[in-house]
């Protein structure tokens, strides 16, 4: 009763906001595309008497959504005794709804959860250690899914970000589009050439959290941590010259090198319209760009300013499938949900990789020949695998307040990006914001 009514108290105090309500949780570390407002379900056939139906919440839209639908449909065809009823929830509302369903005691039987969020939910998810063998998954991801000694969510993929570039614009600037860029100075020289030799925009790391997916690895490559754990929570790990250097680079990219304009969204949006030479984006981009009428290439994200590819890092996260705990669910149904999570992540991981472009987490999918023969391999996957072998993927710190700490950092970074704050001022503001998060 108490938990079910948890949110009502302060909402009553605030009254109904005069301007009407917004939807849900501000997106903070979601990796999927734009949301639509209508949840979509996969209708199931007439249930057999002993058939188990599992409710499965996902947040995938666009190409990822279509691939997950295909996976669920295939699962339902191949498993007559277990049927999955998929429901898509717009990603900006997803975690609020998931949290509310858990605290209200009526969660779905299975749900997608980013591993960066796992610490918030932790023991509200069923332990999967007995169902999923650690050796079947990428060990780092498996470790990221462990809370209180147990795996709480089955890793579906490995997400990362890199540089997508327009080959036509590189040619127009007199550059070899097939030659990838290694060091920071090489990268900068080529983007500067694009800006000076063409009327196109140079390179955009992206705004808000998206941009942080470039800056976090830079900080790590420079030898810093994002957050340091203390007795009272966490504190800023880059209140130093490196932090300032990264922020100065953010400022230079716009103000001095003119790689992108002041307006956050313009360069990013213009990539598809042949207006931007290169940008930072994630594994999921393959699915969005594969049908694009544009000759694009893919390479690693630029290393930290002034550095080479030694100790290069890329931001990483994983989609995973969890089985929320519920007193109202039978053991039989819970076991079926655990098995379904295992099947989707292992048996259908290959489809998730070849179609959606994410790096499959399960070993059997990652090692399959089919993956290497699929179109995705030459476009992006080969480079992702090279980065995987070099141990370049870095997961951001897992805390109970991931959404907040990302925002505490990206708000001032965005202000630098848009020319509204000086780098040193932003560094101080980040420190103040992070202290506020762990007040």
């Amino acid at each position: 009763m108490l938990s079910a009514l948890g949110g009502s108290g302060f909402i009553a105090l605030a009254g109904c906001a005069s301007g009407g309500g917004g939807g849900g949780d501000a997106p903070t570390d979601s990796e999927t595309g734009t949301g639509s407002s209508t949840p979509t379900g996969t209708p199931t056939a007439t249930a057999a008497p002993d058939q188990i139906t599992l409710d499965y919440w996902t947040l995938f839209a666009g190409g990822d959504g279509a691939t997950m639908k295909e996976i669920v449909d295939t699962f339902n065809e191949e498993n007559s005794n277990i049927q999955i009823r998929r429901q898509r929830i717009p990603w900006d509302q997803y975690y609020t709804k998931l949290y509310t369903s858990l605290s209200g005691g009526n969660p779905p039987d299975m749900c997608i959860c980013h591993l960066s969020r796992i610490k918030r939910f932790g023991e509200a998810f069923e332990p999967l250690t007995d169902t999923l063998d650690e050796s079947s998954y990428y060990s780092t991801s498996y470790g990221e899914g462990v809370v209180a000694g147990d795996l709480r969510s089955a890793p579906l993929d490995i997400l990362g970000t890199g540089t997508y570039y327009n080959k036509g614009i590189f040619e127009e600037a007199g550059l070899d589009p097939e030659q990838t860029m290694g060091s920071w100075s090489e990268f900068k020289e080529k983007i500067d050439t694009v800006v000076s030799e063409t009327d196109k925009m140079g390179y955009d790391p992206g705004g808000a959290l998206h941009g942080n997916r470039v800056y976090y690895p830079w900080l790590r490559q420079m030898g810093n941590v994002i957050l340091e754990e203390t007795d009272n929570g966490w504190e800023m790990g880059f209140d130093n010259e490196d932090g300032l250097k990264v922020l100065q680079t953010v400022n230079d990219m716009r103000a001095n090198w003119e790689w992108f304009p002041k307006d956050t969204a313009v360069a990013f949006e213009q990539f598809q319209n042949n207006g931007t030479a290169a940008l930072n984006n994630g594994t999921w981009t393959y699915n969005a760009y594969k049908e694009l009428d544009l000759e694009w290439g893919f390479m690693k994200a630029p290393p930290a300013p002034g550095m080479g590819l030694d100790e290069n890092k890329t931001w990483s996260n994983s989609h995973s499938i969890a089985v929320p705990t519920s007193k109202n669910r039978s053991k039989e149904k819970t076991d079926a949900a655990k098995q379904a999570a295992k099947t989707i992540t292992q048996d259908y991981g290959l489809l998730w990789g070849t179609s959606a472009g994410h790096i499959p987490n399960a070993v059997q999918a990652r090692e399959s020949q089919e993956l290497r023969e699929a179109p995705v391999w030459n476009k992006t996957m080969e480079t992702w695998f090279e980065m995987l072998e070099n141990d370049e993927f870095m997961y951001v710190p897992r805390t109970r307040k991931n959404g907040q700490y990302h925002q505490a950092i990206y708000d001032p970074v965005t202000a630098v990006r848009t020319g509204n704050m000086e780098p040193q001022q932003a560094l101080d503001k980040i420190k103040q914001n992070l202290n506020s998060v762990w007040k």
């Binding site: 108490l2 938990s3 009514l5 948890g6 949110g7 009502s8 108290g9 302060f10 909402i11 009553a12 105090l13 605030a14 009254g15 109904c16 906001a17 005069s18 301007g19 009407g20 309500g21 917004g22 849900g24 949780d25 501000a26 903070t28 609020t96 949290y99 858990l102 605290s103 918030r120 939910f121 023991e123 509200a124 304009p261 002041k262 307006d263 956050t264 313009v266 307040k401 959404g403 907040q404 708000d411 001032p412 965005t414 202000a415 848009t418 509204n420 704050m421 503001k429 103040q432 914001n433 506020s436 007040k439």
Partner: protein, 306 residues
Amino acid sequence: MSISTPQQRIRAVREEYSLRETLEGYGFSVPYLLVFAAFLVYPLAYGFWMSLHDWNALFPDRTEFVGLANYQTLLADPQFWNALGNTVYFVVLTVPFLVVLSLLLALGVNRSIKGRRVLRTLFFSPYVLTVSVVGLLWQDVFETNGLIAYFTGFVAEPVNWLIDPLLAMPAVAIATIWWTIAFNFIILLAARQNVGEQLYEAARLDGATSWRAMVDITIPQMRNPMMFVVITSFLSSFQVFGQPYIMTDGGPAGATETIVMYLYRTGFSAREFGYAAAVGYVLFLVMVAVSLVNYFVLQDDGGTSA
């Protein structure tokens, strides 16, 4: 005999109605009172209880009583003060315009001018839109390739108002004024139509100018509805949420994060329900203070209309 005190009013009611009639009156009130108690009084009390805890909705057994610690933290939280300051700034930007402009519009279309019915409809039409539509519409107007930049682009570099800390809050205020002014406009138009024409006739006979008639008749006669408009505009502006949430998401760098946005973010994004309840209670106290001002000002019933 005039009845002035509450005690006298109660006595008069007792004398006028039988016990049965009084009970019937209470009986009719009970359903509402039950709903009122369940959906306002109970959450209000429960919210205060929550604000005294480090509330864990997911694992209720981990909820801890912390006394007034949430309030103590709140007073030292720069993000709270930033949100409160932004909210006050928003109130200052919107309330004067919402009152003065709506009064001018009401007085304007009350005159015998051609097409006034069309104008009334036009002035009221934005109010039928939802906050999402209003937010997205004005987002397009203020962005770099938007309507304003299109017209000002000939003389100045196009600017996205919503990413400029100085322009973002005025942009949200403009959108809000455009959207919500219709409510005040309708109230004040009705109030103006309620002012007896004989007063103006008498003034004209005495040689009063239009300005004098407005200052000495219109404004005093519309005093109570205007106070109502001022107070409701203040309350609604203080609770603004949807417009900045959609147009700027509180940015740039927290320049448009309002107190209700902060409450929402703390409660539903960070799930710090106890702390969010404390923010809600501070907001509640401000609302109570404004309501008390409203109550005492309207007690002084100098003139009346509407």
